[in-house]
Subunit: 269 residues, 2 copies
Amino acid sequence: MANPMYRQIADDLREQIESGALVPGSQLPTELELRERYSASRNTVRDAIKWLANLGLIQTRPGQGTFITELKTPFVTTLSGDPLTGLGGGEGGTFKAEVSAARRLLTNSPVQVEIQNATREIAARLRIPENTEVVLRHERRFIDGTPYSMQTSYYPMDLVIRGAEDLQKAADIEQGTVTYLREVLGITQAGYRDWITVRAPNATEADFFNFSPDRVAIYEVFRTAFDGNQIPMRVTVTVYPTDRNQFIFNVGSVPPPHNAPAGDGDQDI
Amino acid sequence: MANPMYRQIADDLREQIESGALVPGSQLPTELELRERYSASRNTVRDAIKWLANLGLIQTRPGQGTFITELKTPFVTTLSGDPLTGLGGGEGGTFKAEVSAARRLLTNSPVQVEIQNATREIAARLRIPENTEVVLRHERRFIDGTPYSMQTSYYPMDLVIRGAEDLQKAADIEQGTVTYLREVLGITQAGYRDWITVRAPNATEADFFNFSPDRVAIYEVFRTAFDGNQIPMRVTVTVYPTDRNQFIFNVGSVPPPHNAPAGDGDQDI
DNA sequence: GCAAATTTGTTCGTATGTATT
DNA sequence: CAATACATACGAACAAATTTG
């Protein structure tokens, strides 16, 4: 007698979903049908549905019905890379190669550039005083038309003053900023640290990623890149919805991957 | 006029929370008070509360009230490590060092050992045929008494047959399995790949991590370790609640971290 | 193209149960 | 034991989105 009725209904439905009796993409019985099947009120049935929707197992569409969630083919980003060439995963050239290797189509929003005072957080990561000016380059990415990530890079204003003026131009830096900084200022990226967290999206993010009924969490990846003197030269913050993104880190000597992640079918990358 | 009333109430409360007018740990007005303040029914107020609870901003406690979520001090695991010594982050010695460096207390459940047929997923990662036998070592970890992670490692049965019999004993392997396998079989771990995903917890996990009202997502980290011939020697699956865990990954030459991640105060590690 | 039917979304009222103080 | 506060459940009405005839 432990569980409330709506949980029992939810558990029953969940079992049917996970056992495969109900396949992804297919429609659940309507609320009225479930109301009869379980001899409960519509509100109680709706509580059960809400529970499962929160777990991401089902999605409701007004006017249509409730459907088993179809897992989007996850995109896998390899975050480890060669720091010396500046080819970290999820960025510039490497990133594009990774997308096209998966035979998927990448589109970019135009780069948006701003100059701001560093927040406490960014200042700490760049190891500069709070409220120092930083150049901020923001970009949004789509894979196969679906919103995939929002990325903002912060550079100390110092770099611009020393000659890297393209940083504050709202245009793509063709060769990538890592290469650009090496060419112009002789600053080499010697390594980077990625810091991964998961949190709820804010309003802007929920809107961009199109979480309509929503409740999908997002990854927030802080990448701090260091030059040869171990001084931070850049902080890049990227957010990705957790429902369509996965990450890989390689350490030491590993063979190329040849198989798919948890849950979904085959995917060659 | 766009948004329903419960969203407006939620947004209003959210703003008060995020602006700092309501501090973490403090109590929200009761449902009845909110009902009067917003001239709405109790059910509508509850919908607003539910919305915020799903975002993880607040928590309700029966008989007590609704409280602003206090962020648990996140534990940061460094996943990169030295693959040659077998010192990958989140495992054995390194892991314990990391915990005590943060001045926090680690406890372990006893190791639980089973022999199973490999699932499709595990078989694929170990690159062995499906339904081949694997040895499975399972362990649960607590930091400062709070459930922190559940870890299961899968080893090909082949290793046991070749002499690594301790793998199937339900006891700690003192020197760590990486060292043990090198000592007994001369198998060296040359590298590993970490594959990170986020998903909803299953019933067992929700129970262990004590998600009572729940809805916290969990990380699932698949680590495939390879020997010198790039043959998979082990797959370790670890799940962590996203609300109290973060990961770091270092590439190339980077200085030690000296500051805290997003959101919370200072933390030295 | 429009109207009707279907299906989920929002809001209210009410009653009772359960946990905590 | 009583008071307080959230949790569950039912019923009802109307709104909004979508599909169907």
